[in-house]
Amino acid sequence: MAQALRRIEIDFVDLFLWLFRTAIIILVIWGTVAKVFFGVGTEYSTAAWIDFTIAGIAQGSLYALIALGYTLVYGVLFMINFAHGEFFMSGTMTATVFVAIPLASAGYLDSNPFMSMLAIMLTAMLVSVGIALLTERVAYRPLRRAPRLVPLITAIGASFFWQYFFRGLYGSAVVPFPNIPIFSGTIEIFGLEILRTRLVVMAASIIMLVGLYFFVMRSKTGKAIRAVAEDKDVAALMGVNVDRTIAITFAVGAAMAGAAGILYGLMFGQTHFFMGFVPGIKAFTAAVLGGIGSIPGAALGGLFLGVIEAVGPPLFLEGLGIPGAHQLKDVIAFTMLVLVLIFRPQGIIGERLAEKKA
């Protein structure tokens, strides 16, 4: 009797999940069909669809760069570093306040845009790396052997600490990122008008993603990172300095976040102490979507999330007749997260984790 009951219970949960998945898929298809074939809502030209997609790809490349930090750290420590959004913010704000704005008022940003950009980016990356190393040393390393929930809570604490530390430092108002004339306006590629800032963001992201991939796959340090990810104890026996490798992992992730922050400033023109929170959560979503622990997964997840956020509302939400559809892009993003967690916990291209890691 008891056995029979349990079976019914399991069937019921499965049935519910199956219905849930089917309902979402039907809604998406229904909305898309209504939009494309029956023209529900605003009518878009092909150029408008391309604009949606490009805006999405540009936003998605930022998510991808930030997602790398989550994925790398998860790979070696199996912890979600919720302070990562703050690494992103700290470098950006510091570089904006101490480098970008003085350079802009001195006129250097106009006369030497590329050198200035390099200086701004390096400062941002250095500050982010510094904050990350400090956080790792003070907040995470002492808890290395603690149960997994402990560093997670500490990370949330560290996130709040840095947010309000930098709020105290730079105030709570928006600090504008200076406008760089050479990066403003549009450029024509393959007959498409693309904003220069978007092009810069996409190009820089691709270079960094590819560079990082080769760093992890080909260099000696990269090999050490992968060895630590595989098994810390065995890696230590093989002569890998585990603490140093973990610190390097944090540093690399933070450097990517710092660079992403400057690209964010370039694209959106605003920085403030709370700027790391939303992109941080979105990048975490992207990392899980792509398969946490995998670098190509983070890149793919970020791009996918950016594009679906931009294209999803006009495509299937408007098709379903929902007013003010763009406001609901977060609903799409987090529904995706729930779906992935239920049906494909390893992410889009993630591999199944070994018993020990899971």
Partner: protein, 406 residues
């Protein structure tokens, strides 16, 4: 033994109460309770304004208005006035937290706040349930004083957006000659209310609204929503009465979206602060922002500005300092009117009596005009100005170019 101790404690407590309650006894006959203030103790009022975050200037400016009103008043019947400043965060959660904190303190007599309508909706409900009176210097959403949704004890000295939205529609239709318009809000009661009033007024004048969209207040990538707007129109006039962060993003990215190059863009008083100009930068040049008409020509305002300059070392930084000053004075006048004072200086303030006294405000001469509270809590003498962002002496500034009185 334990029981004996308990008994002694109780007896001591009773003795203390008797000792303190000596002298002439005031009895509270108010329907929803009273605040009793011992001789020499301060009369405590609270503020719930946005004093942190990207919109901090809006609330800080109002809070200074409150502080100056308290300073000008000095004391009431020998009781100093004390301000407890809370933060409404310009969000529903922030308004709720601030309100919960205030109502948990029974010594607080009345509340000036909130800054943002989104915070005002939950805060006014909590105040109503706990018998408090609140006067907002800058909530403008129509929903707050709508007869069906207004909470007991809620008042405001800021204009109702029924007026502000109509002013912007008049300006767009008559002054700019726009016939096709679009609007974006962020789902907050203030922005949605204002955008809706604008839509209705603009259509009433004979214009066409081609798109009525919504975007998340923290969104950075707003090109998709702007592309939707451009595809639907493109409109000659685009109105987004939102707050600093989203407003700056929309302003900057609107200039980059194909089809919106010729579109006039406009916002409202949520963005009428230097915070916004700083965040949006040069992209804000030439945009229109509505807000209260600050061209007050009276001695009280001149004195107020002098005190402001002296205390804080600057000109007012946002739009609602004068409304906050008037709101505080209306509250303090009502306290003076209803307070019962015993021979030893103990003061008793009835909460329902206080609400009634504020509601009965009529023909009050304040900085912002002649204020009379109607039965729904609207006390303002509204006058709206539309400002254009222009370059003045090398910096961006708001220049009033159109005035509207209903």
């Amino acid at each position: 033994m334990k029981r004996l101790m308990y008994f002694i404690m109780l007896a001591l407590l009773a003795a203390t109460l008797v000792a303190c309650g000596g002298g002439q006894q005031l009895t509270c006959e108010d329907a929803i309770g009273c605040v009793e203030i011992a001789p020499g103790d301060p009369i405590r009022i609270a503020s719930a304004l946005v004093i942190t975050g990207p919109n901090a200037q809006l609330g800080t400016d109002s809070q200074r208005g409150v502080e100056i009103a308290i300073e000008d008043r000095g004391e009431i019947e020998g009781h100093p006035i004390e301000l407890q400043a809370e933060d409404d965060g310009c969000t529903a959660e922030g308004g709720q937290t601030a309100a919960q904190k205030i109502v948990s303190d029974p010594t607080i007599v009345g509340v000036i706040g909130t800054s943002c309508s989104g915070a005002g909706v939950p805060a006014s409900a909590i105040m109503a349930d706990n018998g408090f009176v609140m006067i907002s210097p800058s909530n403008t959403a129509p929903v707050l004083t709508h007869p069906d949704t207004r909470e007991e004890g809620y008042f405001r000295t800021a204009h109702n957006d029924e007026v502000q939205g109509a002013a912007m529609a008049q300006f767009a239709y008559n002054e700019l000659g726009a016939r096709v318009a679009a609007a974006i809000h962020d789902g907050d009661p203030y922005t949605e209310g204002l955008a809706s009033v604008f839509r209705d007024s603009f259509e009433e004048l004979g214009g066409e609204i081609v798109a009525f969209e919504a975007e998340d207040p923290n969104a950075t990538n707003v090109t998709p929503v702007l592309t939707t707007i451009a595809a639907a129109g493109p409109p000659e006039f685009l109105y987004y009465p939102v707050f600093t962060v989203l407003g700056a993003n929309l302003t900057q990215q609107a200039r980059q979206v194909e089809g919106l190059g010729e579109t006039d863009v406009a916002g409202a008083d949520g963005m009428l602060s230097p915070d916004f100009l700083e965040a949006a930068g040069d992209a804000a040049l030439g945009m229109y922002l509505s807000g209260p008409d600050l061209g007050f020509e009276n001695q009280a305002y001149t004195d107020f500005l002098a005190t402001y300059q002296e205390n804080y070392g600057s000109e007012p930084v946002a739009a609602f300092h004068a409304h906050a000053y008037d709101a505080t004075n209306i509250l303090l006048d009502a306290i003076v009117e209803v307070a019962q004072v015993s021979d030893d200086g103990t003061m008793l303030i009835g909460r329902q009596a206080l609400r009634d006294a504020v509601a009965a405000t009529s023909g009050y001469t304040g900085i912002t005009g002649t204020l009379t509270c109607d039965e729904n809590g609207d006390c303002a003498d509204p006058a709206i100005a539309v400002n254009e962002v222009q370059e003045v002496e090398g910096a961006l500034d708001f220049v009033p170019i159109f005035n509207y009185v209903p």
